[in-house]
């Protein structure tokens, strides 16, 4: 990156990041979960925290939501420290949680109507129902909703107060493919509407589908941040040229596959058997990133 003039933060409050985290640390009973995690989420983007189970994604989100204490690091969410921020701050964030609403015996509409009392700026219930596709289920008791419908109700509750920033923690875990696609559309609509979205997922396709930028978490740190298409750019530059020769497979890993090919073809008069050139897919890159976490330099 070329050197850029740093704008004085006070005069550009609107452009300040939605989330700014530096050196976040957290351990449970001696087990380190977060080990100096840095993170920046820009206003208006959809950012996915991607990582395997136990990488520290949920802990990170919970610290940002102000429901879990951190051991170390600086955290600013919408310009305030979540550990001490008050109700005015809470009104500006939305949390889509796994837990149920207010009770199994309450209908979807009653649940939304109830929680409308907690915010000064509730979106109309009918509008919310339509936005998450639950208009037909408005009269259904929450206890009788399917898993996917329940998750959509959770989204409706998360955005009810018209938040500037929405947290989604593994929102599609356990959903069937059709429900997942519907859900993705919901998240896209949110982002289109100008809401900043921070989601965690351990599904690569979900991150690729939804996020403007993906942050890969492994070993309690952010090991890479990039738009999905550019994730692991260094790793992806290496292609593998593979062919059969003398009854066995030969494989060359190179950043210049065309040069390798030109030499190979020039040296061979007949057809090269089983020739292929492959580059690592997103999944390969991800697995390498997650597996390639440096173990040696942990404090």
């Amino acid at each position: 990156m070329t050197s850029t003039q740093l704008a004085p933060p006070a005069t550009r409050a609107g452009a300040a990041p939605a989330v700014a985290v530096r050196g976040l640390g957290k351990s449970y009973g001696g087990r380190t979960v977060l080990d100096g995690l840095d993170l920046e989420v820009r206003r208006g983007e959809c950012f996915a925290l991607l990582g395997p189970n136990g990488a520290g994604k949920t802990t990170t989100i919970e610290v940002l939501e102000g429901v879990r204490r951190r051991d170390a690091g600086e955290v600013l969410v919408l310009g305030e420290d979540p550990a001490v921020a008050g109700r005015d701050w809470r009104a500006r964030i939305g949390v889509v949680s796994q837990g149920e609403g207010a009770g199994q015996e309450l209908s979807v509409r009653e649940t939304l109507d109830h929680f409308a009392h907690y915010t000064a700026t509730p979106r109309p219930t009918a509008e919310l129902l339509a936005a998450v596709g639950l208009t037909e289920q408005a009269g259904t008791r929450v206890g009788r909703l399917s898993g996917g419908q329940r998750r959509r109700l959770a989204v409706a509750l998360g955005v009810q107060g018209d938040p500037e920033l929405v947290f989604l923690d593994e929102p599609t875990t356990g959903m069937d493919p059709a429900a997942r696609r519907q859900f993705w559309q919901l998240v896209r609509d949110l982002r289109t509407g100008g809401t900043t979205v921070l989601l965690t997922t351990h599904y690569l396709d979900e991150a690729a589908e939804l996020a403007d930028r993906v942050g890969v978490v492994a070993g309690g740190r952010l090991v890479e941040v990039a738009p999905p298409a550019e994730l692991g750019a260094d790793l992806r530059r290496v292609a593998t040229v593979r062919w059969r020769e003398d009854g066995g497979w030969r494989e060359v890993r190179t950043e210049t596959p065309s040069v390798v090919l030109r030499d190979l073809l020039a040296a061979t008069l007949h057809e090269v058997q089983g020739l292929s050139v492959t580059r690592p897919g997103l999944e390969d890159v991800y697995l390498q990133l997650v597996g390639a976490t440096p173990q040696g330099d942990q404090r």
Partner: protein
């Protein structure tokens, strides 16, 4: 840093949320039939059984058994609806993740407690409105004789319900699953009834049991109820030879304060950190 500019209006007041919580609690209560039946039926069923079986017996001071028992079972009903029901409900709601939602919405804990108290108030009133006529017309138990006795009945019931509610919230903070909390609270409530002179005359209990019970609110709630329902001279058969209204109020208020302090120190929206 409070310099961030927002044109959002201030969040709704605690009172407004408390009101919404109370309406919600009542609606949910009415829909959970088991809970309704148990809460309302238990004291009435016990009244009918005990008064039918032991109806001919008398308590010291020539008090018919049914009259003595009404005071005890009314007190028990209040404890079940406040202490037991609130304790198990809070633990269950926490386990289901409902309280996490309240936390992320920035709900003042007091508003949540107020909703519970509102439910207790309404359901205690309804329960007593069912129990008293059954005792009066089914078993000829006289009602409080004058306004002063009704007033005693009122403040004893209110203080008992309040103490039960805060202690219910307090006990929900015990570690363990919601079902283990439910079991522990129910077992404790049953034993406490026997210790506190609900079923047996308090004077018939062994001394150590009396002394233990005297530290806890149910004994005082029961005694206060007797002072409202029993004739004045029956006070002579209490441990202290009188109704001890001052001490009753003192102990119940003390428990309200103790319970509130425990709540403020131990109340959690979520399960303990793993």
């Amino acid at each position: 840093m409070t310099a961030v500019l927002t044109d959002r209006p201030a969040p709704p007041s605690t009172a407004r949320i408390a009101l919404a919580r109370t309406a919600l609690e009542l609606r949910l209560f009415a829909r959970e039939r088991q809970q309704v039946v148990f809460a309302f039926a238990y004291p009435v069923v016990m009244m009918v059984i005990f008064a039918s079986v032991l109806g001919d017996e008398e308590r010291p001071g020539e008090i018919p058994f049914a009259q003595y028992f009404l005071a005890g079972i009314a007190a028990t009903g209040i404890m079940l609806i406040s202490f037991q029901a609130v304790g198990t409900a809070v633990a269950t709601e926490r386990e289901a993740g409902q309280l996490e939602r309240l936390q992320v919405l920035g709900t003042p804990p007091v508003a949540y407690f107020a909703g519970k108290a509102g439910l207790v108030l309404v359901s205690v009133t309804a329960q007593l409105a069912l129990l008293l006529p059954v005792a009066r017309y089914g078993f000829d138990v006289p009602m409080p004789v004058d306004l002063a006795h009704w007033a005693t009945f009122g403040w004893v019931a209110a203080l008992g319900a309040l103490a039960g509610t805060v202690l219910g919230v307090a006990v929900s903070a015990l570690p363990g699953s919601a079902s283990s909390t439910t079991t522990a609270v129910s077992a404790f409530a049953i034993v406490l009834q026997f210790f506190s002179g609900v079923f047996f005359g308090f004077l018939e209990l062994p001394g150590w049991m009396q002394q233990l019970a005297a530290l806890l609110p149910l004994k005082w709630l029961t005694q206060g109820m007797r002072s409202a329902f029993l004739p004045e001279q029956a006070g002579a058969f209490e441990v202290a030879g009188g109704w001890e209204h001052g001490r009753t109020a003192l102990v119940l208020v003390a428990w309200v304060i103790i319970g509130t302090v425990i709540c403020m120190r131990t109340f959690r929206w979520r399960r303990a950190e793993g």
